[in-house]
């Protein structure tokens, strides 16, 4: 940080000046010299234009008194030469002349003269002119200095921003914005206009996408974006659910940002397995869900991130079905607030009309982009035009591979077992999967199997909770109405839990470069007719929601125990 203050320019009145007097007339020169010396200044004299230019270069005078008509080089040419030599410094030139016709005076000004002094010389007038020009000269120097200082600071700032951007890119661009189902628009320096777009695959498959718009610009905006990106990626890859991540980001921003600074954001959780999207939005314009050719606007329901404390932060989300080809648009206010030369906003109406017109078009994203740019015209929408389109598609078409986690190669435990039992309230409120996954990941080498293990544990746990404890029927999810009903019932039953529990037992038996993880999950429900699964087709029964086929494909053993409320699986892994 540069903190030294600007060098102080000399005071206008203090100190003698160096004044160049150029006049071919000896007696006039003598008189002028006497006047100027009596006023306390130093004098340098020149006898013609050529001499004046040479003395100017050698002596660097502060102010020049220049006769117009002189031999060898006249005052006009000398003035031009001197102005050229002085560059952007202000060297006032006062023409000494008894010329009185307008044409000659104009010639003096054209040559760079700043004022005139006519004969006979009046000492008082000359003094007034010298003082006035000196003040102007000092002011000019101060401005120059401040300008240079601003330019220096600016250059410094730009360099700092470049470094900060590199750091931010390293933090933020580890995600999956490149997946085939995402199109996005983001200024290269967006972190400094406060816009952030993050996308990350979840270990279970599916992805989180977050679009944020911080108040303010420059470094203050970037500072909030760093921890936001860290939390987003860290928690998403560890398998945390969207509300938990939002709560954490909100708390972090609330803690680090000063009052009055916040982040408007929309965050979505896209599930490619059960084809759904979960949306939280605080402070950004409505997101657009294009569902089967229909537009559903998903408005912001919450305060932006970083305003509420943890106790009153609301992480509740809305969940929608999304079939393959359905799309969700999220954007910052840069789109609707893009202004044209008449200072009109692009506006929500225009946006909605365009979306409805091209709702079936695969080109919609680009149409919006082009239309906004065309609307803004020369004014340009500026830097903060940020948007993303997320399309539902079969997961294997996304074109991304599970991020290769560097093998920790540590000395974590190879042989261990644990059990973890959640009851009533905790069942409803707490998601134990990230925690359990963390523990399993301590096994050296196991990190590469993060995704599969997450899938197994979360399948088993949600079966136990949703079907075992909450007695929800997954076939409900087959229709749109049922889909909503399913989540409504789930919410309702979560609030009425008595004497309910889910117990997870984990046991790991390590061998060289591999091992067997045994997971046993028991719930307080009444069980179900598990034999039926073994006899019928894997996906045909009402139990398809239990993902048994998936479990069987991942585990070497899947075994249910009477009356169907206990299940045990064995997962074998090898490096």
């Amino acid at each position: 940080m540069v903190t030294e203050s600007a060098p102080k320019p000399e005071e206008a009145s203090a100190g003698p000046l160096k004044i160049l007097i150029a006049d071919d007339n000896h007696s006039d020169r003598l008189i002028l010299q006497a006047i100027v010396k009596r006023q306390g200044h130093h004098v340098v004299t020149a006898v013609d234009g050529v001499d004046a230019v040479e003395k100017f270069s050698a002596e660097e005078p502060d102010i020049i008194l220049l006769d117009a008509l002189m031999p060898r080089m006249d005052g006009f040419d000398a003035a031009k030469e001197i102005k050229k030599l002085s560059g952007e410094d202000l060297v006032p030139i006062i023409f000494l002349t008894s010329l009185s016709d307008a044409e000659s005076l104009a010639k003096c000004l054209e040559a760079g003269g700043d004022d005139f002094l006519s004969k006979p010389y009046n000492p008082i007038i000359l003094q007034a002119k010298i003082n006035a020009f000196n003040r102007m000269r000092v002011m000019h120097r101060t401005l120059q200095m401040q300008r240079d200082q601003i330019a220096d600071h600016n250059e410094h700032l730009v360099r700092e921003q470049e470094v900060a951007k590199k750091v931010f890119d390293n933090v933020a661009h580890v995600g999956c914005l490149g997946a085939r189902n995402i199109r996005h628009l983001l200024s290269p320096l967006s972190v400094f206009n406060g816009d952030v777009l993050l996308a990350c695959q979840k270990p279970s498959g599916g992805m989180h996408v977050l679009l944020g718009d911080f108040t303010g610009h420059g470094l203050p905006a970037a500072i909030g974006a760093m921890p936001m990106a860290e939390i987003f990626y860290g928690m998403t890859t560890k398998g945390y659910a969207l509300p938990d991540i939002l709560r954490e980001i909100n708390l972090k921003l609330k803690t680090i940002l000063p009052v009055g600074f916040f982040c408007c954001a929309t965050m979505i959780d896209v599930e490619f397995g059960d084809k759904s999207i979960e949306i939280w939005s605080g402070g950004l314009p409505s997101g657009y869900l294009l569902q089967g050719g229909k537009l559903i606007k998903v408005p912001s329901r919450h305060l932006p991130l970083g305003i509420r404390g943890s106790d009153s932060f609301d992480a509740s989300t809305e969940r929608y079905e999304m079939h393959d080809g359905d799309r969700f648009y999220l954007w910052s206010d840069g789109i609707i607030e893009a202004a044209n030369s008449q200072n009109e906003f692009y506006g929500e109406e225009r946006l909605q009309a365009l979306v409805e017109q091209y709702i079936e078009s695969d080109e919609l994203f680009y149409r919006i982009q082009r239309d906004v740019l065309a609307f803004a015209g020369d004014c340009g929408p500026g830097d903060d035009l940020t948007m993303a389109e997320v399309t539902m598609m079969p997961e294997h078409e996304l074109g991304i591979h599970e991020s290769e986690h560097a093998s920790a190669g540590g000395r974590g435990p190879g042989k261990w077992e644990m059990s973890y039992r959640l009851t009533d309230d905790s069942l409803a409120r707490f998601d134990p999967i990230p925690l359990l996954l963390q523990i399993v990941m301590e096994v050296p080498g196991m990190r590469s199997f993060n995704g599969e293990i997450f899938t197994i544990i979360s399948e088993l746990y949600s079966n136990a909770l949703d079907h075992g404890v909450l007695k929800l029927d997954s076939s409900l999810k087959n229709s749109s109405e049922g889909f909503a009903e399913y989540y409504r019932l789930r919410e309702q039953r979560c609030n009425q839990l008595v004497d309910a529990h889910v117990m997870v037992r984990l046991k790991h038996d390590g061998t060289h470069q591999g091992g067997v993880l045994t997971i046993r999950v028991e719930d307080s429900g009444q069980g179900f007719n598990w034999q039926k699964i073994n006899s019928t087709q894997p996906c045909a029964s009402q139990y398809s929601g239990r993902g048994v086929a998936l479990l069987k494909s991942l585990c070497r053993r899947v075994e249910y125990f009477e009356p169907g409320n206990v299940v045990e699986v064995e997962y074998e892994w090898r490096l």
Partner: protein, 113 residues
């Protein structure tokens, strides 16, 4: 005509005060310089270069004004005008007047010093 027609006493006494000990040197310098400028004026008159004649008169006018010599200054102004408007017919007589006035102020200034 009084002395005031030739010498402006207010200007001269200001100069004397301002120049301190240098006043006499200033007057001598002026007289030497002006003698040369008169030669220049005569030369331009003879050559018939009216613009150069005007410039030469302009130059002497300036220093005469500074020294507080109203009539010499006024005659030079007329010469400047004749030169710039290319009316050289009347210039010969005017140059005679300028020379005469210069001789007169030379005497008066020497007395004044």
């Amino acid at each position: 005509m009084t002395i005031e027609t030739h010498l402006n006493d207010a200007v001269l006494s200001d100069l004397r005060e301002m120049m301190e000990g240098e006043f006499e040197f200033l007057v001598t310098t002026f007289l030497d310089d002006s003698a040369q400028r008169l030669e220049d004026i005569q030369h331009q008159l003879d050559s018939g270069d009216s613009a150069a004649f005007g410039r030469a008169c302009h130059s002497l006018k300036g220093s005469a004004t500074n020294l507080g010599l109203p009539r010499l200054s006024e005659l030079c102004r007329q010469g400047e005008e004749l030169g710039y408007s290319d009316q050289m017919d009347a210039a010969g007589e005017l140059v005679g007047d300028i020379k005469e006035e210069f001789e007169q102020v030379t005497d008066l200034l020497k007395d004044y010093v």
